[in-house]
């Protein structure tokens, strides 16, 4: 079917790119003049649409799923630029369809923000959905964590084929009880690793408090059994396999189990059948997504960026990247994309930074962060709200030391921008 909307949308896309504009405008234009565009285009895909959602880890997990499927020879459409609104998906589609509106892909794997995913699935019911977690960030947007769980439940209820759920997150696992149509698969953790993922409900369950009883957990399709320095063990089909991992951070590697479960499900039910050695090889080669646990090089030494946006993520970041031997900076912004409410900093325990101290604290909430560290008796070197100035100071004073920066999303963007002036930073279109 030929429609003028596609050439027009592509034209707007080209013009807005020339002007350096945002990615959503062409999507808006095509949606206005041709509201059926996205649904029509995606409905032609032989393997349908897979949606990845949850509060934390969507971008890296989506990237993993895409690379796993590509290793099996599938052509994958994805919203790679991280513009995960419905409009952003339409804009990304415009870039990939031909002038007649045809998309040359076998499947679409889309990262969707919880709230926007609801609008999306009402229009395009996905064949697969992968629901990662319900962590306690963005409460300034959704009000309550239970509300976020309801948004994910809605995505699951619209899924026609298979829903993949996190067995270890009670709010996500519970979604299974509400489903009638789709098949349910789980990804999970070995009992020995459960302690590294304290849920938000157990934030204050310290030593001495009764440990909440672990309910009978369902069988998981893929289980993360062990995390090593640069490898990990996964169990599926009753066999434990060891694979190298470029990704760092326990949470990323847990999400690798999620990506494996989804990719296996897609390959198993379609024409292709997963080839396990290529699947594992692809998994071992996945590099972190833009800004998530990236390691850059400054003055010949590594500078690691660790994205933090909620208490669980920050706690895991501190646990996964011990401070010894590193100069440390913390950059906290409270722009919309970071979440405006930073009260969760009080639910992170900073004791592990006490021995080495923190060299620089920066970002729009630098003083709140410094105050937080002061109450945990962590020495703070310098505090300032101007990120470029603090970063320059950090690099100057930290010469000869590897560096680590814990940062919120927009602080990460600002830091990357500054660093790109002095080092090579991966460019994402």
């Amino acid at each position: 079917m030929f429609s003028l909307s596609v050439p027009l949308g592509k034209f707007v896309r080209r013009v807005s790119r020339l002007r350096g504009g945002g990615s959503a405008l062409p999507g808006l234009v095509v949606e206005k003049i041709d509201p059926g565009f996205m649904q029509r285009t995606l409905s032609t895909l032989p393997h349908g649409v897979a949606v990845v959602s949850g509060t934390n880890g969507k971008t890296t997990t989506t990237k993993m799923v895409v690379e796993l499927l590509e290793s099996q020879g599938l052509k994958v459409f994805t919203n790679r630029t991280g513009s995960n609104f419905t409009r952003g998906v339409a804009a990304a589609l415009l870039g990939d369809v031909d002038w007649r509106g045809r998309l040359d892909a076998d499947i679409a794997v889309l990262e969707l923000d919880e709230a926007h995913a609801v609008h999306f699935v009402n229009r395009v019911p996905p064949r697969y959905s992968l629901l990662l977690n319900v962590l306690r960030d963005q409460l300034d947007r959704f009000g309550e964590i239970d509300k976020t769980a309801q948004l994910l439940q809605h995505i699951a209820s619209k899924t026609t084929g298979t829903v993949v759920l996190n067995r270890e997150d009670p709010r996500v696992a519970r979604i299974a009880d509400t489903l009638h149509g789709p098949e349910v698969l789980y990804f999970g953790l070995d009992d020995s690793l459960l302690g590294t993922f304290p849920s938000d409900d157990e934030l204050r369950a310290g030593p001495g408090s009764p440990v909440p009883a672990v309910p009978e957990r369902p069988q998981a399709d893929v289980v993360l059994r062990r995390v090593g320095a640069d490898d990990a063990d996964f169990e599926y089909d009753g066999v434990t396999v060891t694979t190298g991992m470029k990704l760092r951070g326990v949470y990323n590697i847990f999400n690798a189990a999620a990506a494996l479960a989804l990719a296996r499900s897609i390959c198993g039910s379609g024409a292709a059948t997963a080839d396990h050695s290529t699947l594992l090889k692809a998994l071992s080669e996945v590099a972190p997504a833009f800004g998530r646990g990236e390691s850059l090089t400054v003055d010949g030494l590594p500078l690691d960026l660790v994205l933090v946006k909620n208490p669980s993520g920050f706690r895991l970041g501190l646990k996964s990247f011990p401070s010894g031997g590193y100069a440390t900076m913390i950059a906290i912004n409270d722009n919309y994309a970071d979440g405006r409410d930073m009260s969760w900093l009080w639910d992170v325990d900073f004791d592990s930074l006490r021995a080495e101290g923190v060299d620089q604290v920066t970002g729009s909430r630098a003083y709140d962060m410094a105050l937080r560290l002061q109450y945990d008796e962590v020495q703070v070197g310098a505090v300032g709200t101007d990120i470029p100035a603090s970063l320059a100071d950090f690099i100057r004073k930290g010469k000869g030391q590897p560096k680590r920066v814990f940062c919120t999303y927009t602080a990460m963007l600002a830091i990357r921008r500054e660093l790109s002036k002095i080092t090579t930073v991966e460019v994402v279109s």
């Binding site: 934030l203 408090s209 009260s343 900093l345 639910d347 003083y367 709200t385």
Partner: protein
């Protein structure tokens, strides 16, 4: 319960027991920060803090000097409801007796007479405070600035859909200069009764409002030891964080 006492290097002026109520269900938007601030400021003032947690079904600790209650989701309020009712007499007695308490959001509502939810059911409170709360469809979220007679300018963050009205038995904590506060009608925020400070402000409240933290500490120490000799906490970052928050549009 997790006893957490820290002995300083210099001789302690005495021990103060702080109990956080229902930390598992009623601890959202950083309410734990209030406990951390009391613990650390007690040390800075030269006292030995003992931080205890009280959860559903626990034995209530003896000799409590300060009580802290935080916010929770509606589901959390339902979990603690019966246990809280079983402690109503005890908590009311402590309140009347002058025990300093900080009650934030959900616990502020449940220390009142009732919370009538939007969908109909009424969650009974324990009637320590002469206030009543009605659920609404509107969620009030954002930074709040309150002018108070006792603590100067109080800064925090609100996120609630219940709206609270004060009865004649309590005073407001202060007048809202920015944000909404107790309800969308009267421009008042929080409640004061005996040594209780109740408020919708998270943030956490105490880190950026050390005057309230020191009020709770001074009151507790005077009740227990007769006089309070303060230390000299370094409030440099608190002052900067307050100035910065007050200047910002949100």
């Amino acid at each position: 319960m997790t006893p957490d006492s820290a002995a300083g290097t210099t001789a302690s002026k005495g021990t103060i027991r702080v109990v956080q109520l229902y930390p598992r269900e009623m601890n959202i938007y950083g309410d734990w920060g209030n406990a951390l601030v009391l613990r650390q400021r007690l040390k800075w003032h030269g006292y030995t803090p003992e931080l205890l947690e009280y959860d559903v079904g626990d034995e209530f600790p003896e000799g409590v000097d300060i009580i802290l209650g935080g916010g929770g989701q509606d589901s959390g309020q339902l979990v603690i409801q019966d246990d809280l009712q079983s402690r109503a007499g005890l908590l009311k007695g402590m309140a009347e007796d002058g025990t300093p308490m900080l009650l934030i959001c959900g616990m502020y509502q449940l220390f009142g007479r009732f919370f009538k939810t939007r969908s109909g059911p009424v969650i009974p409170g324990i009637g320590v405070l002469d206030v009543e709360t009605h659920g609404t469809d509107e969620r009030l979220i954002g930074n709040v600035k309150v002018t108070t007679p006792e603590f100067g300018e109080v800064l925090g963050y609100e996120n609630h859909s219940g709206q609270t009205t004060l009865g004649p038995g309590v005073e407001p904590l202060g007048t809202v200069a920015k944000g909404t506060g107790n309800n969308s009608r009267d421009g008042q925020e929080g409640a004061r009764y005996r040594n209780i400070v109740a408020s919708y402000l998270h943030g956490s409240l105490l880190p950026k409002n050390p005057a309230i933290a020191d009020f709770l500490i001074r009151t507790a120490v005077e009740r227990k030891y007769g006089t309070f000799t303060p230390g000299e906490p370094d409030d440099r970052y608190a002052v900067l964080a307050r100035e910065h928050a007050a200047r910002r549009p949100r």
